[in-house]
């Protein structure tokens, strides 16, 4: 098992390296001179030249690339063009907020998705199942930015019971968590339902029933553990997608996280911040996928580590 984890960890490095390389060269394609953006439109040619030298932009591209990789290894993501702050410091201040939101949303959507999915599967082809199927389809179809706006309209504008923006206390979490979880609850619900239905048709479940076990024991002892593998995959993927969903959710609720920072940076064309956030996001996705793979190997005896 340890070897498996080490091998998977080693596979992470080339992907992060590739993403960092792609980000560097893609952002070289942006029209305009970064030194002018950094120095400001009104700066004199001499100032711009000094900035260019300071940022190392007067060097050949491959030299710049090599220095960029060296800095990256040391954890240096460069300096923001707009406010002159270190990108790594900006990330350190915001990343925990994004992770916290994504984590709470993942846990809650896993809980509700699995529970409601089980109810839907156990009540198969009843009115309850049909209703839940429609609700799930609506859930995956709902635009999360609209859901966020509607929540603000109802709970902040009309009822004035929840704060619109910020992340200072637990009340601030309610609407962003609901917004971020809606699609995930629906996806987890759907996969739980289909996975449980598939397992319910297996011979060992029939045997468990034939032995005269109580239905609850059949479900929790025999069906659920065997239906868990696709569910874990989807929950893991959802955590990754929550980081993506944070871009819209954080913008709606002015949440001080990485997603909102990325949108602001793209709008301001603050290349260094965009690059930095993309690399951090990419590394997070790859790590989340790795953790899902490891959990997968732990819960499924059929997967070999070798």
């Amino acid at each position: 098992m340890r070897q498996y984890i080490i091998r998977r960890l080693l596979q992470v490095l080339p992907i992060v390296f590739l993403v960092a390389t792609a980000v560097f060269f893609l952002f070289k394609l942006i029209p305009g001179d970064p030194a002018t953006v950094f120095a400001g439109e009104q700066a004199s040619p001499a100032t711009i030249a000094r900035v260019r030298e300071r940022l190392g932009l007067d060097q050949p591209v491959m030299v710049q690339y090599w220095r960029y990789l060296q800095r990256l290894v040391k954890g240096d993501l460069g300096t923001s063009f707009i406010n002159g702050m270190e990108v790594i410091d900006l990330v350190k201040a915001r990343f925990p907020n994004t992770i916290r939101l994504a984590f709470i949303s993942t846990i809650l959507s896993a809980f509700f998705g699995v529970s409601i999915g089980m109810i839907s599967a156990l009540k198969r082809e009843t009115i309850v199942d049909y209703l839940l199927t429609v609700v799930a389809l609506l859930g995956i179809s709902i635009p999360i930015f609209w859901l966020g706006l509607m929540l603000i309209y109802v709970f902040s504008v009309q009822l004035s019971i929840l704060p619109i923006a910020g992340a200072s206390n637990w009340k601030n979490y309610i609407m962003p968590v609901i917004t971020l979880s809606a699609v995930s609850v629906a996806s987890i619900l759907r996969i739980t339902r289909s996975s449980i239905l598939e397992v319910m048709g297996e011979d060992f479940v029939r045997l468990a029933r034939a032995k005269g076990l109580k239905e609850s024991r059949v479900v929790f002892r025999h069906v659920l553990p065997n239906a868990l593998i696709p569910i874990v995959t989807v929950v893991g993927l959802q955590f990754g997608y929550m980081l993506g969903g944070s871009i819209i959710t954080e913008t709606i609720f002015s949440w001080p996280g990485m997603g909102r920072m990325l949108v602001v940076a793209v709008n301001q064309r603050d290349v260094m911040v965009v690059q930095g956030v993309l690399i951090v996001f990419a590394t997070s996705f790859v790590l989340v996928n790795l953790i899902v793979d490891i959990v997968y190997a732990l819960i499924d005896p059929k997967i070999s580590y070798s």
Partner: protein
């Protein structure tokens, strides 16, 4: 002997009726999709007003007989803006997905046919697929800038690996068939084999996937426009209509409600229709 002529409905209609009977929800979805496409195509004929005509005297009118869905803060007719917004959504999602299909299928087929290209192409596709759509699209927009053309490119780039994977898998299974061996033995060139013998045989799953990614493209278009990185005002688009709606929500809640409702309805329509189509074409899915 006089043969009695029995009148039968054409096969297509029987097929549709059978589908409607087996998949009622998907049929409703299909009707929504059809209505959306018709409204988008016929926008100039069905919209009651010019979507960009401002009239401050009529600003923030509630829904009523004169303006069925009310007006926005500039007095523009909401219904007409929604109808023209459908046109923009359909145009962007269709073009971007078609672009993604063409590039993706070519890459997938090439990767499966030429062994030495398999690793570089498919590893790149896997990496791209592991990121959420909005991150990929935002990266492209950060490089190219906002606007309709760049939005189409951004969504197309996100769709490339989706179709590359399908085309790759299908080509791998088709290339071992005897008839492919036969055309190779006959001395056909690679280009001809791929065009004439592989492509026609891998296209069915690509079409099913097509119906499933269109709603995602519609949602992504609206999401990026909502963030101010896609379709820019004054062009009516459902996402950018929602952008400033909260500021006026107290006076005109219809500004927040209707664009999102339209989006929800259309995406719901595509999802249920696509789901039904997939299940009806794949009998193994029926018991799920």
């Amino acid at each position: 002997m006089s043969a009695k002529r029995v009148k039968r409905a054409p096969a297509a209609i029987v097929g549709i009726l059978n589908f409607a009977k087996s998949f009622p929800l998907a049929t409703i979805g299909g009707i929504i999709v059809l209505a959306f496409v018709l409204v988008a195509v016929l926008a100039p004929y069905v919209a009651p007003q010019d979507p960009n005509k401002m009239n401050l005297e009529n600003a923030l009118e509630r829904p009523g007989p004169q303006f069925l869905l009310g007006t926005d803060y500039s007095g523009r007719d909401m219904l007409s803006r929604l109808i023209f917004g459908a046109r923009v959504s359909l145009f962007i999602s269709l073009t971007s997905v078609i672009l993604g299909v063409v590039v993706g299928v070519v890459l997938g087929v090439v990767a499966a046919w030429f062994r030495h290209l398999q690793t570089p192409i498919m590893r790149l596709m896997d990496i791209m697929l592991s990121f959420p759509s909005i991150i990929v699209a935002l990266t492209i927009i950060a490089i190219l800038g906002s606007g309709i053309q760049n939005l189409i490119i951004a969504i197309a780039v996100y769709n490339i690996p989706v179709f590359a994977r399908i085309a790759y898998g299908q080509t791998l299974s088709v290339k071992n068939f005897t008839y492919i061996e036969a055309v190779i033995t006959l001395g056909a060139r690679d280009g001809r084999i791929l065009r004439r013998h592989i492509l026609p045989n891998i296209i069915a799953p690509v079409i099913v996937q097509f119906t499933l990614v269109i709603p995602r493209a519609i949602m992504l278009t609206a999401g990026l426009s909502f963030l101010g990185l896609g379709v820019m005002p004054p062009t009516a688009e459902w996402g950018n209509m929602l952008q400033n709606s909260l500021r006026w929500a107290a006076q005109g809640p219809h500004l927040v409600i209707f664009p999102g409702l339209a989006l929800l309805l259309v995406v719901f329509g595509f999802n249920t229709f696509g789901d039904g189509l997939r299940v009806s074409l794949d009998p193994r899915m029926r018991n799920r």
